[in-house]
Amino acid sequence: MGTSDSDELSTDEMSLDDEEVENNGKKADLFDSTDDESINLTEKKGIKNTTENTIVMRSERLEAKQKHDAALAEAELQANMKQTEMFVLPSGQEGEDEQTTTDLQVVHQRIQNIIRTLNNFKELGDHERGRAEYISQLTKDVAIYYGYSEFMAEKLFHLFSAIEFFEANEVARPVTIRTNTIRTRRRDLAQALVNRGVNLEPIGKWSKVGLTVFDSSVPIGATPEYLAGHYILQSASSFLPVMALAPQENEKILDMAAAPGGKTAYISALMKNSGMIFANDASKDRLKALVANIHRLGVRNSVVCNYDGREFPGVIGGFDRVLLDAPCSGTGVISKDPGVKINKTEKDFMILPHLQKQLILAAIDSVDAKSPTGGYIVYSTCSVTIEENEQVVFYALKKRPNVKLVSTGLEFGREGFTKYRGKIFSPALSLTRRYYPHVHNMDGFFVAKFKKLSNKIPSTSTAKIIAESELWIKVDNSGDAGQLMKERKEIFTRLMMP
């Protein structure tokens, strides 16, 4: 470089830069030597061009800059050296001070450092302070950096121990649409949309009806094809529970929490508008969207009703299959609804699983085990926490010995946890499937499929459920719950009659 006989100083500097990148480790030494050399060089040049003062001036300026750069590089190098040696965790008091700082750059840097340390804890870690302290600092930092409440950050962090999950939640999932096979075929739809200037691609090998939309010159929710019901905007994860349910033609199916109707319409499409679907939802407002959707999509075999899901099978029972896409905390769809980051508290993770447990028992009881084709229940949530998924499924298995878990029939997805932080569930839970935003690039999701073996409800559990429902009233003091309770008791007494 110094010896290179290029006349241009600027190119000289460039080549220097290149080498700087290559010999990162020896940066400091390199710079010391180059400094001298470049000074020599500028002197030489100075002699060469004595008459041209401007160039001398320029070179002097350049020289100063190089020196400055070298100093900076050295400082950086020293910082790097420190990092490879050991990252020093801020002490307790220091940590508290840092809490108040909102310099995201600092926090992000610290997150990176802690992760690196944890990945190689044996060599880099401070053993006196232990892993736990590193992790607690990390969760705090994650909470600050990604804007979660500390409670949520800790909950999610323990689940994955992966920063990728938090990263993935900052990015929107791709827009996906589902072909309405009642009205059209995927190839025709894709052709029609491409003609309108939509850039799309099949969603993957696992689905024959899904399309991913990359970009579009027209609003994808207002094309004539959309209005004519040829497709519906639906997230990829919403396909999964219906695929697991695998409805057959001429069956009687219950969709317990149906709004806004995407899954109901998919079930209907798979049944080719035969048999019948009960689409239920507890919210009357949301049902409006559901009714509009199923009419637009040409679903003719549906009955829409507005009950609390827990009132089944008191309303009507004996279904061939039941889909329970339970109301949940939405920890799988944080990218869509960032409110989850802060507005969920510990209480939510008590109340929601309780509701889910009641719903899943109601769903199981609504199914007719003697159905020649069915007898299946699919439980799904758009949440990733253990409390709302594995624990609910495990609870159902305990309370209803007349059901067993079966394979969901989905080709991909992670297996459900069979044990988690000291809690041990049934090994059958490996038959359930989990989906993560950072792994599958779709919303976080959970799917479990049960088969009902007999219609007998074990009476011992009935009393327990009532006791638990009473507990539920204590949690939720609204008058509604009391009425509900009464109805539920009646149902149980009826069921217990021989």
Partner: protein, 129 residues
């Protein structure tokens, strides 16, 4: 559908396909939701060109310039189903002129009065049912 009888009246929201509503004067007004059945049995049809599709879907009447095809011998004031050129039913309306008279019209004259279109699914989602 007999099975739905066990659902309480106030809790039952919808059953099968809603065709329309009775007005206060006891007349029956067909809704866009009946389009599927109308399209299946329609005698007289109108096809509109792609550039007229969006205009119709926003609730406007059909102009002559937008007409792609029309069933021959359609009389005046006849209920017709409106399709896009790709045979997708978009709505229904009433003709303003018969087929022969349409030929004589200006391109900006109305040919079919708008009654219902699938755009209503977006516009009137809340008041529809």
């Amino acid at each position: 559908m007999r099975r739905a009888t066990s659902v309480g009246r106030d809790r039952l929201i919808s059953l099968g396909v809603c065709f329309g509503k009775f007005t206060k004067t006891r007349k029956f007004k067909l809704h866009i939701t009946a389009l599927d059945y109308l399209a299946q049995y329609a005698k007289h049809k109108v096809w509109i060109k792609p550039n007229g599709e969006m205009s119709f879907l926003y609730g406007n009447h059909v102009l002559k310039a937008h007409i792609g095809r029309i069933t021959e011998d359609t009389p005046e004031h006849q209920g017709v189903v409106i399709y896009s050129m790709a045979d997708v039913p978009l709505g229904f309306g009433v003709t303003a002129r018969n087929t022969i008279d349409i030929r004589k019209l200006q391109p900006t004259d109305i040919v079919v009065f708008h009654q219902a279109d699938v755009g209503e699914y977006l516009r009137d989602e809340d008041s529809m049912f």
